[in-house]
Amino acid sequence: MPSDQNLSADVVIVGSGVAGSSIANELVRAGLSVIVLEAGPRVDRQHFVENFRNLENKPSYQGPFPSTPWAPHPPNQMSPNKYLHTTGPDAEAYQQAYLRLMGGTTWHWAGCAWRYLPSDFELKTRYGQGRDWALTYDDLEPFYYQAEVMMGVCGPDPSVEDLGSPRRQPYPMEALPLSYAGEEFRKLITEKTPWRIVHEPQARNTRPYDGRPTCEGHNNCMPICPIGAMYNGSYSVYHAEAAGAQFIPNAVVYRIERDAANKKVTAVHYYDPDKGSHRVSGKYFVIAAHCIETAKLLLLSADEQSPDGVANSSGHVGRNMMDHTGVQVTFISGDKALWPGRGPLETNVIDNFRDGTWRNERGAYLVHMVDDNQVDFATQLAISKGYVGRELEEQIRYLASHTVRLFSHNEALPDPENRLTLSKTEKDALGIPHPQVYYKLPQYTVRSCDHTRSVFKQLIHLMHGTDEEWTPGYFPQDHPSGSTIMGVDPRDSVVDGHCRTHDHENLFIASSSVFSTVGTGNITLTVAAIALRVADTLKKELLHG
């Protein structure tokens, strides 16, 4: 723990996940000094692997990462939790999970590395819905590629399988080979439906890459890749550190200090675990602390100068909360065994519903066939059917090999009423209020989910499925976004097209919180691309005035 009170750097970054660490890496290699403040501790892979193996509830992907009192994160994702409090008609649909740890939430993710479609950035112009971003696909394209190289993304040959996001270069690695279940599902969709199935781009090695091994299909990408074949933010932390960036763990930023004119940020203040306070000054500041924590910090920094919170003259900080709230069903195929669970978790996607003229009335979505091990589900089902003894074993075997799980990412819209605020009653060990979110699923998304259900029902029918188990209501996808929304007008947005806050000229935000709309692909690659673009902007300003 640094003891001095004179910490200072050219750029101070809050958050060490994929966004913060990759910005740090870019800047420090350009010769700038960088300090990164991470609320959570630093832990290495082997301890997470052992925690996972000792965990009784294997599907709990937050389980191996029990958080600290000073940097709590949600303990699990599928039930009301004691940290991220949700209210409103669709409270259950916004129970997001994330990690506060060195390296960030990509310690557990499925590695899905989608680029957004060009239309995702122009929803208002093209379909009269939501908002336009203050940047275009073309602005982001070079940074998408830089992010793909940084993370090591594999994907299909665009001349064979065009995913709808124009590319100037091929994917850094060849697409993943499909598992047996993946192949069989692909055949079914191709031969018996009007839909199209594509290889999911993945931040996962299909050959040795960057000193890390090829994916072996352990099937527990979530909660932890045991061999490092999948990207996570800790690699960017290592790379940035090797080049001289300073990372401080257990540094919980609680206040953003500004100058007398309230135009420039002068420092951030953090608590160590014993609530000792430290001040870190700098020329530029980047908040890259995940959608939830970023908005929380801005609101927490409210003072006389900014009574509604920092960067919040628009009143939009904490509003417009979005996700890929979707639909999930698990059923038993009446056709031949698929034996899911023998490869990475997500490799196959039906992508017909990512874009279309119907987006003027209902949201887009994509469908994942989830290739995860189903022994847990099969066992519960077999027991619930009353099997015992040898028959129970046979049934588990049968059901586990015939289980199909589908879920969708459905597009939300930015609605200012869907809002993150600070809890007035719940506080963490440092006395910092917990975040709470009011959530009501937009009708646009409800109609999208209805459409998804009809598609899932057709698939179940096609596979002679039985024992359907629909996740009640809607399924949170842990892709929170929108809480510091991007726009050209400072009156109704928090950051501009370069992720600079409208209110403070040296304060940037690199997070899914800047998304103006949320599209359908998993958000991480877009977060990384936006972060690398922020790094590019900062390099230009700091090095070339």
């Binding site: 890496n25 870019e26 290699r29 350009a30 959570g40 501790p41 832990v43 290495d44 892979r45 082997q46 301890h47 692997v49 052992e50 925690n51 193996r53 000792n54 965990l55 009784e56 389980g63 191996p64 990462f65 029990p66 958080s67 600290t68 740890l101 070079p142 940074f143 590629y145 830089q146 793909e148 190289v149 940084m150 090591g152 270069q169 850094p172 050959r207 040795p208 890459y209 960057d210 000193g211 890390r212 091994p213 090829t214 072996e216 352990h218 045991p226 061999i227 490092g228 800790s234 690699y235 290592y238 790379h239 090797a242 080049a243 001289g244 257990n250 675990p273």
Partner: protein, 457 residues
């Protein structure tokens, strides 16, 4: 690095030249093409590129720092560039350097250059090598720094005395492609592959002890093991086919696999030899005098079997700020078992090898096991790319401490090898390499044709 070298090989030599090298056509001595092909093959068999190319550098442009007990020797530029390389060398100059260790300006070469081995080359093969280096290698106008070390005595002139102590191979005669199997094997092992340079122990003057030929020697943290046919100290239990498989792919199942310097030798040299030559080399090695070993009393690959640990599962999940220290079984479980299996059996196809019946784990010396954990495996041959991540100071996968590596290695050798070798953290610390200079940032994406991983080593 391996990827770059792999591309380099395919560009430089091309499958056609190497894969289908017709020995018969090498007979046509006046055929320039045949001489070139022969020279290229010989340069591969001599593994010149291993030392004369720095990581990321142009082929044969030198600049690699080679650690010796006396200090670092920097390899020279041997491309045909007239100022910086050997472009001004005549055949006679080339022959003197190659077989006698004499530079064109009269200075003596350091014996890191295995001229005592290359001394065994035939005149015809020296000419083939010369022709290929002059016409088949791209000149590179890059100057490499001079080596600054005090070899026994501190001037290169003292090398004259050293050369009198060191026993050089006698030049072979005639057409080396017509030799019978054992003579060809001897020629390959001594005059080209220079196996003894690493595998033969040296005396205090760094002269190879020929009465201990291939009996094993230290090599920058690694140990080039005893590969004589001793049944206890060497590889007497290996068949000729085992040796051929090892040299061709870097892996002989149930015996051993190549990493570190031997991984490079396989990658750059032996995996590109013809099957006939590999059999000749193997046959020769199998009949050199056997030497027993002070520290190996049973064949290194004869230990252990698949074993299951009793259930390690505690059900206890540790808070991320309250981490327990992992003991040997837990270190194995968290870092090794995902690939090598809970029972140590590796994968069915042995892409990931078993840890039992494995020379590296069974050896009485833990050097190569420690080095493999520290540096990983990264070996590309025509049969594929084999990779194990490093667990050393620059790993992105997992950085193990000296204490953890010592604990893990002792656990591995007890469970799968020849017992507890009581390795200490201090010993591991000595073997850990100093951190390399941070690499430059990965190329900006704009216009980058070939995606390079953001390397940092």
């Amino acid at each position: 690095m391996a990827d770059i070298k792999h591309i380099f090989w395919s560009l430089l030599l091309g499958g056609a030249v190497l894969g289908g090298l017709p020995i018969a056509s090498a007979h046509a001595e006046d055929d320039e093409q045949a001489l070139m092909a022969r020279g290229a093959y010989l340069a591969t068999a001599g593994d010149c590129v291993a030392c004369h190319t720095r990581p990321g550098g142009k082929p044969f442009a030198g600049g690699l720092e080679i650690a010796t007990p006396k200090g670092a020797v920097i390899s020279t530029n041997i491309t045909p560039d007239p100022q910086n390389g050997i472009g001004a060398y005549t055949l006679d100059d080339f022959e003197k350097a190659l077989r006698r260790g004499l530079r064109k300006d009269g200075a003596y070469l350091y014996p890191v250059m295995p001229y005592v081995s290359y001394a065994g080359l035939t005149d015809q093969d020296v000419r083939a090598l010369y022709t290929w280096f002059m016409h088949g290698v791209q000149p590179v106008a890059e100057k490499v720094p001079e080596t600054q070390i005090g070899f026994p005595g501190n001037i290169r002139m003292s090398m004259m005395a050293w050369n009198m102590l060191a026993e050089s191979e006698k030049p072979e005669t005639g057409d080396s492609s017509t030799y019978d199997k054992l003579r060809r094997g001897h020629y390959l092992a001594t005059a080209l592959e220079h196996c003894g340079t690493c595998h033969t122990p040296r005396n205090f003057m760094l002269v190879e002890q020929q009465d201990q030929y291939l009996a094993g020697s230290q090599l920058n943290g690694w140990f080039a093991p005893n590969i004589t046919p001793s049944n206890t100290g060497g590889i007497g239990d290996w068949s000729e086919d085992d040796l051929v498989a090892y040299l061709k792919t870097g892996h002989a199942k149930g015996r051993s696999q190549a990493a570190g310097p031997m991984g490079e030798a396989v990658e750059h040299s032996t995996s590109h030899l013809s099957d006939e030559d590999l059999h000749a080399l193997a046959a020769f090695i199998k009949q050199v005098p056997a030497h027993d070993d002070d520290m190996e009393h049973q064949a290194r690959d004869s230990f252990g079997t698949a074993t299951q640990e009793p259930d390690l599962r505690s059900g206890v999940v540790h808070r991320v700020d309250d981490l327990n220290e992992l003991d040997g079984p837990a270190l194995y479980d968290a870092n090794c078992a995902a690939c090598h299996g809970a029972n140590g059996a590796g994968t069915a196809d042995q892409y990931v090898p078993s840890l039992y019946t494995n020379s590296v784990v069974g050896s009485g010396r833990t050097d190569n096991l420690v080095m493999t954990i520290l540096e990983g495996v990264n070996r590309t041959t025509p049969s594929g790319h084999v990779s194990m991540p490093s667990f050393g100071s620059h790993s992105d996968v997992q950085r193990l401490s000296d204490e953890e590596i010592a604990r893990l290695v002792n656990y591995l050798t007890i469970r799968f090898g020849s017992g507890d070798h009581h390795l200490t953290a201090e010993q591991v610390g000595v073997m850990r390499q100093p951190p390399p200079v941070p690499a430059v940032a990965p190329a900006a994406p704009q216009g980058a044709a070939q995606p390079a991983p953001p390397g940092h080593t």
